[in-house]
């Protein structure tokens, strides 16, 4: 597991950690059933408060990414890849919703937006 946190970032630390763990679960770097460090170990290694790491794990558990098994530890939840992908798609959809709203505010047309996306995606080559 690899986690890098930035104290300069405006994003709360618990979210930074959560995002990185999620990304590693989705990419398969963290395997289903694999053990995660305890909140105390994680806090010690990252030099942050136990309260922060606890919050990360609570959020991840709520979202179904990890299982906290009392007395045993914390594990990457067993779940199907489809569902994970579905979740990720949903979050991309949400972000696109924001983009559309922002574009409409500025009066950017659909074709202009499409053009931007084409270039960003690299589909114009």
């Amino acid at each position: 597991m690899k986690i890098i946190i930035s104290n300069a970032s405006a994003e709360p630390i618990y979210e930074q950690i959560g995002k990185q763990i999620k990304a590693q679960i989705i990419s398969g770097d963290l395997k289903e059933g694999e053990g995660l460090p305890s909140i105390r170990k994680l806090a010690k290694e990252l030099h942050i408060s136990v309260i922060t790491t606890k919050r990360t794990y609570v959020e991840l558990e709520k979202e179904g990414f990890i299982d906290v098994v009392g007395g045993k530890g914390t594990f990457v939840a067993i779940q199907n890849k489809e569902l994970l992908r579905e979740k990720k798609m949903k979050s991309i959809e949400d972000m696109m919703g924001d983009i559309v709203a922002e574009a409409q505010k500025l009066g950017i047309s659909f074709s202009e937006l499409q053009e931007m996306l084409t270039i960003l995606y690299g589909a114009d080559e």
Partner: protein, 289 residues
């Protein structure tokens, strides 16, 4: 969640200084930093907890037990590190250990030796020849060799160089991997507290400003910077403290959400350090008088 330390309505009047109705608590398994300017009452609070000075009113419970009625029982489980070492300057560390160890049933020779090794402390040198860093480290080694569950430290990092301070902070982090330990430590070096504390208790002029988790503090407080034209009376009132200059203002908010609703993107928001929080809170109190 069981509570390691619970202080309720603690007061003590010295005439020229008054500790005024202080309440806070520390759950088991966490580190609390006690901050405040010099003379705010940090050491007084710690001495009252240790029953070295008498409180006038209020209650102090350690491990759920009254700190006076169960003093002996409770103190066996406390490791106390204080800032002014020490009465035994003519002794060496080995002699000091032999003096102190018999008082603790739980004294663990191996833990002590491990700590001495780790801190690279000489056993046969007299204590008066120790540097400040070595003295602090031996004080810690003495305090932590009887399996204390609650470690209380008064200004452990002041006067230490950055290298030793970092060693000490790392050591505290390692201790806290054990969820049965709790630590209370006071310091006016706020960056040290910021690095290891889960809870922060801030006292000023004998009064409690707040006692909260570090995460909550950094979510609620922020520095706000912007042009002076943004600063009308209402906005000003919303800040804990403000400084204005020729080119703009800098203020501290303790309600970031509300400030953001009011000022939106017309100003810049930055993370406030504990030092910022102390500075502006102090400013506020001064103008209030």
């Amino acid at each position: 969640m069981s509570t390691t330390l619970e202080i309720t309505n603690l007061s003590k009047d010295y005439g020229d200084f008054r500790l005024d109705n202080i309440s806070f608590s520390l759950p088991k398994g966490y580190v609390m930093g006690l901050i405040g300017p010099n003379g705010a009452g940090k050491t007084t609070i710690i001495k009252i907890i240790m029953n070295l000075i008498m409180k006038q009113s209020g209650a102090v419970k350690i491990f759920g037990k009254d700190h006076q009625k169960f003093e002996v029982e409770v103190k066996k489980r406390i490791g106390f590190v204080y800032d002014t070492p020490n009465f035994y300057e003519h002794l060496n560390l080995k002699q000091l250990k032999n003096t102190v160890a018999p008082f603790y049933e739980n004294w663990d020779e191996r833990t002590f030796n491990d700590l001495i090794d780790r801190f690279k402390l000489p056993l046969n040198k007299t204590l008066k020849k120790f540097s400040k860093g070595m003295a602090m480290k031996s004080s810690i080694a003495m305090a932590l060799s009887h399996h204390a569950d609650f470690i209380i430290m008064d200004e452990p990092t002041s006067g230490l160089d950055p290298v030793v301070r970092r060693e000490l902070l790392d050591f505290l982090r390692e201790l806290m991997v054990d969820e049965n330990k709790s630590i209370l430590f006071s310091s006016h070096i706020t960056t040290d507290i910021e690095q290891v504390a889960d809870y922060i208790t801030y006292v000023q002029d004998g009064k409690l400003v707040f006692s909260k988790t570090k995460d909550d503090i950094f979510e609620e407080y922020a520095l706000v910077k912007g042009g002076n034209e943004m600063l009308d009376l209402d906005i000003r009132k919303g800040f804990v403290g403000v400084r204005t200059g020729a080119f703009g203002f800098e203020g501290l908010t303790n309600n970031l959400k509300e400030t953001k609703e009011l000022l939106a993107n017309n100003v810049i928001y930055e993370k406030a350090s504990l030092e910022d929080i102390m500075f502006y809170t102090n400013l506020n109190l001064k103008t209030a008088y």
